[in-house]
């Protein structure tokens, strides 16, 4: 149909296409009358253009009811179901393997209770329905539309102001250029004009295309830079776009207060510039009295001198801000030096060796479970140097020894726990070594709780009893006096 309407140039390229006849009316009633006439005359493809929604025009030119409301209803109902599901999914359980939900337990109430979930479901319903109505309406109207031949007619500008237009489309069966014009005149049109669509400049402007491409390219630069800055490797600290309270002006315990105010230096909460009071001499934290010397320190309570030293110890500890120090003052290191005799010459000024416990303290339940626990802890904390079977063949030791041989590191070899100097040590002494360290071995009291340290002691004793193979653990009664088990491994 469109073909015979195309005006042909010499080169046979269509320059324009006839859209139809546009008739202007000066008041709404004549437009409605004209529309009614046109419908009665058999025109089907026509449209009216008015500055406001004109009531009566739908019937006049035969516009069918839109199905938009049903579309909105469908979207609204789905959105309501989705809203309820979203809340159930994310708040009422964590059964999903991906993007798991979370079972919110609030005041012991049921995980899903409809009344509390109505508001969000309602809002999601309204939001989705509004989107459906808004975008559905534009889609049904085939808008937005960048170009429309009607807008090329200067008269048509008044369609959004104060004039009324009727367009008889050229595609209609009844359309006939001269006859339709005549009919429109009869029906009261004040002006009639042909509407043509210009087909020559339908191309999207190339300049705009290029500009758009360049713009998109430029817009991609900032995110790429941000991604690089926050994700790549760099010698300098990464850019910190969101500080997220990483640096805060606040008081920390036992540290000089930061300078909140530059004019006043080190204004702590207290006169000494601190943010926390120093404990009184001899202060012991609640539950940290640790007065069971056998259990906590591994030696028998001294008969004379040690009782008197406790307050002094407390004072000293308070001064160092280290209330958990279990070290019997001045004894361990000296004693260590004595014990490791070969390495260090005896210090005549060293305090006497404490009276190490030789039996496990009463509150260490010697049992198979404890040996097992000890094995586990030993393998975590000790085996790296001392080796799984206690012969000093741990990976770190091996590697460090290799380096030490080449002169690349200074290293004292880890002791084999089967060394005769070690096997004769009482359990309290082994406990103390673990607690406070010996020579190059550091203290483990902060890593390993006391009960576990005793478990390790028990395991070490078991290792020493069974030889170098730890795979089979002999039942141990807890004391080193038991006969050595001679079972080889496997």
């Amino acid at each position: 149909m469109a073909d015979h309407n195309k005006k042909k140039t010499e080169s046979d390229h269509p320059v324009s296409r006839l859209v139809g006849l546009l008739a202007q009316f000066d008041d709404p009633d004549s437009l409605i009358h004209a529309g009614t006439h046109a419908r009665e005359a058999g025109y089907k493809k026509m449209d009216a253009f008015t500055p406001f929604p004109l009531h009566g025009i739908d019937e006049a030119i035969g516009i069918r009811r839109t199905w938009l409301p049903f579309f909105v209803l469908a979207i609204g109902l789905s959105a309501c179901a989705f809203g309820l599901f979203l809340q159930y999914y994310s708040n009422a359980g964590d059964w999903s393997p991906i993007f798991p939900g979370y079972a919110f337990m609030i005041s012991g109430k049921p995980l899903f209770s409809l009344p509390a979930n109505i508001p969000v479901a309602f809002e999601i319903t309204v939001l989705s329905s509004a989107f459906a109505a808004f975008f559905g309406m534009w889609a049904l109207n085939r808008l937005p539309r960048l170009a429309n031949p009607l807008h090329r007619i200067s008269r048509f500008r008044r369609a959004t102001n104060d004039r009324f237009f009727l367009l008889l489309e050229a595609g209609d069966e009844k359309y006939d250029s001269s006859r339709s014009r005549q009919q429109l005149e009869e029906w009261g049109a004040t002006a009639i004009e042909e509407c043509n669509e210009d087909l020559t400049d339908r191309e999207f402007p190339k300049v705009l295309k290029m500009a758009g491409l360049i713009l998109v390219f430029l817009l991609m630069i900032p995110p790429v830079l941000i991604f690089r800055a926050s994700g790549g490797t760099s010698r300098a600290p990464r850019l910190h776009f969101m500080p997220d309270m990483d640096w805060q002006d606040k008081y920390k315990s036992q540290v000089l207060a930061p300078d909140f105010d530059d004019s006043v230096k080190h204004t702590g909460l207290f006169a000494d510039g601190r943010a926390m009071r120093v404990p009184l001499p001899g202060t012991i934290a609640l539950g940290k009295l640790e007065n069971d010397t056998e259990y906590h320190r591994g030696f028998l309570p001294p008969q004379s001198s040690y009782t008197g030293e406790l307050p002094v110890l407390g004072e000293k500890l308070a001064g160092q801000f280290n209330l958990q120090d279990e070290k019997p003052e001045g004894t361990a290191e000296g004693a260590a030096a004595v014990q490791e005799g070969a390495a260090a010459p005896q210090d005549p000024n060293a305090p006497p060796e404490p009276n190490w416990v030789t039996e496990f303290p009463a509150n260490v339940p010697v049992s198979r479970e404890l040996v097992e626990r000890g094995r586990q802890r030993f393998e975590i904390y000790c085996s790296a140097c001392h080796g799984y079977n206690g012969n000093g063949g741990g990976l770190i030791n091996q590697h460090a020894m290799a380096l030490a041989v080449n002169g690349q590191a200074a290293w004292t070899a880890a002791k084999s726990l089967h060394d005769p100097t070690i096997t004769v040590q009482p359990v309290g002494r082994i406990f103390d070594t673990m607690t406070n360290g010996r020579n190059t071995m550091g203290p483990y009291k902060s890593q390993i709780p006391i009960a576990d340290r005793w478990a390790i002691v028990l395991y070490v004793k078991a290792l020493q009893e069974t030889g170098i193979t730890p795979a089979v653990i002999a039942p141990v009664e807890g004391a080193p006096e038991t006969t050595p088990a001679t079972k080889p491994a496997e």
């Binding site: 500055p51 009566g56 516009i63 109207n141 959004t160």
Partner: protein, 480 residues
Amino acid sequence: MSIVINPETDNTFEDPGKRAPLVLGGLDYGGVTENVASLWEATRPPRAWYITLGISMSFMAILGACILHLFMKGTGIWGNNNPVYWGFPIVNFVFWVGIGHAGTLISAILFLFRQNWRTSINRAAEAMTIFAVICAGTFPGIHIGRVWAFYWLFPVPTEHLAMWPNFRSPLLWDVFAVGTYATVSVLFWYMGMVPDIATFRDRCRTKIGKLVYGILSLGWTGSSRGWHRYEAAYVILAALATPLVLSVHTIVSFDFAVSQVPGWHTTIFPPYFVAGAIFSGFAMVVTLLVPCRQLFGLKNLITIRHLENMNKIIMATGLMVGTAYGIEFFIAWYSGVQTETFAFYNRAFGNFWWAYWIMVSCNVFIPQVFWFKWARTTPWFMVIICIFVNIGMWFERFVICITSLCRDYLPSSWAYFYPTEFDILMLLGSFGLFFTLFTLFCRYLPVIAMAEVKNIIPRGGHGDDHDHHETHGSPAVAGE
């Protein structure tokens, strides 16, 4: 097409059996367009426009600076502190959300009730809604502390964290309610404006204007098929916006009512908040439109009758709010709950008595002048009353929020609330933001819904006051 301005015309008198005209000065279709477009077409807006914009933008800059300072320093710059953790930001939030409600009421509820007089004021009122919601959204937005983690407010799936919002928290309902409200208001406003933007596009003479308004008008032609679907969508949006607007302030009131703080935990809060919101919103509409019609020569479209109608609504909702104040006291006494009784005694006679009595005077006593017709129909006077109403409504939120938190169950945590300078500057700054947006709107967008006003001009377009619906058999949607 010439504008015949007849300032003597008074359309506030009721003539039984006749409808009072809503458009004066004998404006026809073209006249309405000319009148509305005159400010936009003027090469230079009136000097008052520049002055308003300048002052508003200065305050908006203050708000911006304060927000920047807030982001650098943290929420400690506000007066919020134990026990008043909800200080000015939440007060301002509730105040601004409330302001917005009148716009939706005018555009949606009055539309469903076929109140034709809404057509002259609905565009400006809807714009006010959106700008108020922008101000409102700013405050909880910056109140969350770590603003860069704002997306935690939304149900964003994470791979392993299972970090979801708690959907049973009223604060989360707020996110959904205010978010939906803002979005739907924008859709409603923009959709209503497209035909009028098309009018601007067709009248525009500058190239950039043609481009901008051409894109914004989406190629609207005024086709009858277009109008048909447009009206269907408009009714649907109005029907959606009506329960939405009621739900929004209901949910905002849940922020308080669902908690157990004495003075908050009451079932009257939802209707009381909605009535208060409409009350303050209408006061803001009047405050904006009186100078607007004066400056931009819109007196024939926004007539004294429109203003009078709004004042009647202000008085009605003011009485509702006043009743709610009374009922709160009655229930506090009737419940026999000691903390509740104390909370209300403390409101009126406690340490914030001055705020309470500012609230009651501004909201209950002062609007009573609208019983007098002179007060209802005198523009400069009604603006003063409406400003008082908004002061009162701000203090209502202040009283609810602060007095209850200052004196809750545990006397050892009682304390007074002192706002900081940033609290006050941000409140003033939010007015700057609001008025900046509104001033720009007046200049660059159609202030009056021209297409809708043209629809209520009796056909024939000569301002005679017969009811046009009866002249045609179609079941016309009045006001559209």
